[in-house]
Each structure stands twice: as C-alpha cells, then as structure tokens.
C-alpha cells in the first residue's frame, strides 16, 4: 500500500519543478511575483466565471505578468504534457509489445510526424500547419504500420517488423523532402524541428495538445490495471477471457495519440519514453496500476527540468532532443547496469 501511495505521490512532483521553471530565464522573476501573478490569474478566472469585477494585480509590472502567463506558463504546461505523454506511452508500449526496449516512437510515429512537419515547412510554413501536419503524419505512420501488421496476421512481432519497415520508408521520404528543401531557409527549419524543442510554444498550441493528452491520459488512468494483462502471451491472455488482439490495437492507438500530440508540439524528443518507465518501475514496481501514475509524474517533471535547462544553460537555446539524448544515454546505461546487477543477468 505504501508503494501505491508513493506512485500517486509522483503526480505531485511536477508542481515544484514547474514553479521553479517559471522563476528562471533571461529575465529572472522572484517567487513572490510569480506567486502573485498565479494567484491573481486564478482569482481573475473565478471572478469572470461568477460575473464579478476582476481584481487588480498590484505590485507586479504588466510585462512580468505577461511574461509569466503568456510565455513561460504555456511552455511549462507543454513541457509537462509532453513528458507525461511520452513516459506513459513508452511504459504502455513496453508492455503491449512485451519488450522492455521499446518506446513510443516505434511504429512510425516519429518519422511520420517528421515527414508531416517537413512537408508543412516546405509548402505552408505556418506554426499551426506544421503542428497539424506533424500530428496527422504521426497518426498516418502508425495507421500504415497497423494496416501492414494486420495484413500479415496481427501478431506482436509482425507489428514491430511492420513498424521498422514503415519507419525506414518514411525516413527515406523525409530525406527526399530535405533534399529538395532550400538549404538557406527551409532545410535548417526542418533540421531544428527534428531536433525537438518547445521554444515556439504559445498559448494556442496548448488546446490541441491538452485535449489529446486529456483523452489519452484519462483512458490509461481507467485501464491502468488491464494493461498488465497485455504483458501476457496472446494465448494466455485469451485464456483469461481478454480480447487480446483488439485490446492491443486500442491501447496502441491511444498511446499513439499521446505520442503524436507530444511530437507535433515538441518535435522529436528521444529517450524519455524509454528511460522514465524503467526508472518508475525501479521505484514502484512493474504493476501498471502504480507504474502509469508514477511514469506520468516523473516524465512531466523530467521534461520540465530539461526544458528549463535547455533555455537557461547557454545564451542560445539548446534543442531539447539533444539534451535528452546527452543525458538519456548515460542514464540508461547506469540504469541498465544496476538492473543487471540486481537480477544477476537479463530479466
């Protein structure tokens, strides 16, 4: 029971990190000012809801209020959602594919989203078209994988093979788009997008990401225990009365919704979906009823922290994907070595 409490406690972890992230940046803001702005925003919202006169914000410059609410808060929200989405989807994919080395980017989400974003940057370079086409490309990539996997019988292994095929085919198409792109303007834009980052996030980007995340995370909150059953071999799950093929496709579809919405806003952010679920497993155990809340909280806190480093560490912004890669690989190695030592070998 204490482990279960610990798991839900991780959902609170992003809150202090988010508060810290609102303080720091090119223009440091004091905790008092951030607190005043946030409290005022809540009171203003409540007042509006009740049809009362909104209270005035005193003692804080309007530019500070705008910086907190319009620039930093959307970015903090996006970072938290991207982290939670990638971590939850990664944890679920590892179970569904019965493979601890899988992450949410498998199955052609990332190359599909990359291709969509690159096409948008080539043809209609506006933020909303980039986001929309990236999202649709991600879903399209997975749909293609699912269709191919289904045509070959629908087993887990076949789906992974189909994912590898689609991933490599779409990457080749992405290569064509890059090759034809203008090397002075469009090509660097595509390259930066693929490196991942949240510097372009504004308030309006939060709505689609928020809706997709809410739908996906709520679904996984409800089915959290049942995901355990998908870690069984197909005949075993069927013997327990689980419609295992249909469940796998449904769960992969909802996982894809999470990853595609994250990728469409933040570009390709690697490692989070692989690393965070394993860290969470180390802390609360493999039972998905505890694993999913822990992974969501840890993922949100980690991406928030990394994104804050990405925009404060150097005078110029570091692409988020580079940071997660730099930290992810050594962290994964450390985790993996501990894992091997604990169990005296693989598994």
């Amino acid at each position: 029971m204490t482990r279960s409490r610990l798991a839900w406690g991780f959902l609170l972890l992003p809150l202090p990190v988010a508060f810290g992230a609102l303080l720091v940046g090119r223009y440091p803001i004091s905790p008092g000012e951030v607190g005043a702005v946030l409290v005022h925003a809540v009171r203003e919202g409540v007042a509006r809801l009740l049809g009362l006169e909104p209270p005035a914000l005193e003692g804080v410059a309007p530019v500070v209020q705008s910086l907190v609410l319009r620039i930093r808060l959307p970015r903090v929200g996006a970072a938290a959602l991207v982290g939670a989405n990638l971590a939850v989807a990664g944890a679920v994919y590892q179970g569904v594919f019965r493979n601890p080395l899988v992450e949410g980017r498998l199955l052609g989400v990332s190359s599909g989203a990359g291709l969509g974003a690159a096409l948008a940057l080539l043809l209609l370079p506006r933020p909303e078209t980039v986001q929309t086409l990236a999202f649709l490309g991600g879903l399209g990539g997975v749909a293609l994988t699912a269709l191919l996997g289904w045509a070959f019988g629908g087993g887990v292994l076949v789906l992974v093979i189909a994912g590898v095929l689609v991933e490599s085919f779409l990457s080749a198409l992405l290569g064509i788009v890059k090759y034809t792109a203008d090397p002075q303007g469009t090509l660097p834009a595509i390259t930066y997008w693929l490196l991942g980052g949240l510097s372009a996030v504004r308030v309006r980007d939060l709505l689609p990401l928020g809706v997709a995340s809410a739908a996906g995370l709520a679904f996984f909150f409800l089915v959290r225990w049942r995901v355990n059953l998908l870690t069984l071999a197909d005949p075993e799950a069927e013997a327990l009365g689980v419609p295992v093929r249909a469940m796998r496709y449904l769960v992969v579809a909802m996982g894809t919704l999470l990853v595609a919405s994250a990728v469409s806003v933040g570009g390709i952010v690697g490692w989070v979906g692989l690393l965070v679920p394993h860290a969470a497993r180390g802390l609360v155990g493999p039972d998905y009823a505890r694993l999913l809340p822990a992974a969501a909280g840890l993922g949100a806190a980690l991406v928030l922290a990394l994104d804050t480093l990405a925009r404060t560490l150097l005078p110029a912004e570091i692409p988020l994907g580079i940071l997660t890669g730099l930290l992810g690989a050594p962290l994964f190695l450390a985790l993996f070595l501990r894992f091997l030592r604990e169990r005296g070998g693989w598994r």
Binding site: R98, L222, R226, A237, L240, G241, D287, R343
Partner: protein
C-alpha cells in the same frame, strides 16, 4: 458442472487431422491425466476442452452448452487453462501474477476490488504459497513458478482447471509438490485435466487416465486399467514392463 467432448476432431492443416473422434468427459472432483507421445494431440485436446480452439468436428460442451456459445469472459470464469510456461516481460510479484487471474471479473474500465484481492490471497493460500506472496516471479524456483501459475488459474474461480504438462522440467520433489497440491484442490470439488509425459505420475496422482495415440483415444479408464505395458506399447511403440504393485510403476523394457 460437466465438461464434455463429443466426437471432436481438429486439423491445423486441412486434410491432416491431429485429433479424430475424441469423446471424453471431465468430471468434478477428479484428476484426469492425458497421456500420449509427442505430437499425439494432447495439448490440442486441452485447448479444445478449454475453448481456446474451436473443434473442426464434434462439440465441446459445458453443462450442455457448446463452448463456442459462451462469451470469453463467461468461459474464463468456468474453465481455467494454465499454460506450461509463463514468462512475463517484467518482474511482477507472485501476488500480482495471481491477481491477473481475476481478469474475467474486472470490468473493462475497472480495477480489481477487495473481492478480487481476497480471491488472489485465497488462491495463494490454497497452494501453500502465502509466504511467497510478495516475492518477484523471477526469484522463484521452477516448481514455485508452476504453482503460482496454477494459483492464477485457481483465482479465476473456475470449476475446471486444465494444466498443460504441470510436471514437465521439474525435479521429482517438485513434480510431487505440484501434483500433490493439485490433488488437494480436487478434494475441494474442482475438476482437473493434466497432460503429461509421465505414465508413473498418472499411476500416482490420476483418478482417471486417457491415452492418446496419433490423434485417437486408445483407452480411457482408471490408472491401473490404462497404464499397462500393452496399451503403452501401442501408444509409444516400445515395449514396457510393469514393476511392483503398491506403488506400481512402468519402465521401458531393456531388450
């Protein structure tokens, strides 16, 4: 509850049946051993009895209703199929593995409730595994793992337990522990079918034995009636000798 197979046949490849004309009743309160050489269709028959495959010919029925007419959930509440191997990709605890047996009782968007938790605890207790409750599955021995998976089947609350080679890959002591524990469950009114490659385990632990050879039922009856040198030679193709009387055993004849 009564579980029947009537005139059952099955073919993986059309025109090459692996089972033909099998008629067999599984009764509550007994262990029925399925013996037969490799490829004789034991596991296929077990899958048919469990409703995991639908027969090409004939019918498998539970209390007169064909299994194909039951929903997967209803079937899983009545018949628990226990696989030979359970290899989870993550290191669940014994209790978490057993709790998965409650899947047919947990709603699609629901969580296991107090009843399910209690059922998992009872299943562990019935097999003497309470001390291993919170041990990670991969730290358990082969015999303990086998019992945990049997406990998962027990947690399903089914009337029939179908075990695929519960005595395979275990040392003699663990074979004894597993089959004795299963015998204890049968005294509580459960009906058990177990496939096996050990005629001697059939003599020791079975109430009835069904002997298969190339997809047909050679004989069904009490262990001393079925596990005889003649019938075994018929099924396995080598001569056997009977040794002792109580306990009785069969050995391949050294010629």
């Amino acid at each position: 509850m009564r579980l029947w197979a009537r005139g059952v046949g099955y073919a993986y490849v059309r025109g090459k049946p692996v089972l033909q004309g099998i008629t067999l009743e599984v009764r509550a309160g007994e262990i029925l051993f399925l013996l037969g050489p490799n490829g004789s269709g034991k596991t296929t028959l077990l899958d048919l009895l469990g409703g995991l495959r639908l027969p090409g010919e004939g019918e498998v029925a539970l209390d007169g209703r064909p299994l194909s007419a039951l929903s997967p959930r209803a079937r899983a509440r009545a018949i628990a199929s226990v696989p030979q191997f359970h290899e989870p990709p993550f290191n669940f605890t014994a209790w978490e593995v057993v709790l998965m047996g409650r899947a047919p009782y947990v709603r699609l968007l629901g969580q296991p409730g107090p009843r399910d938790r209690a059922a998992a605890d009872r299943a562990l207790e019935a097999l003497g595994l309470t001390g291993l409750r919170d041990r990670p599955y991969y730290t358990l021995s082969g015999g303990e793992r086998r019992l945990v998976v049997v406990a998962r089947g027990l947690a399903q609350g089914a009337s029939f337990l179908l075990l695929d080679e519960p005595d395979a890959h275990l040392d003699p002591a663990n074979q004894h522990r597993v089959l004795r524990a299963v015998g204890g469950l049968v005294e509580g009114g459960l009906g058990v079918v177990a496939t096996s490659h050990s005629p001697n385990n059939a003599l020791l632990y079975a109430h009835r034995v069904a002997l298969l050879a190339v997809g047909r039922l050679l004989s069904v009856g009490s262990p001393p009636e079925v596990v005889t040198p003649d019938l075994l030679q018929n099924a396995y193709g080598i001569p056997f000798v009977l040794v002792g009387d109580a306990p009785r055993a069969v050995l391949p004849a050294l010629t």
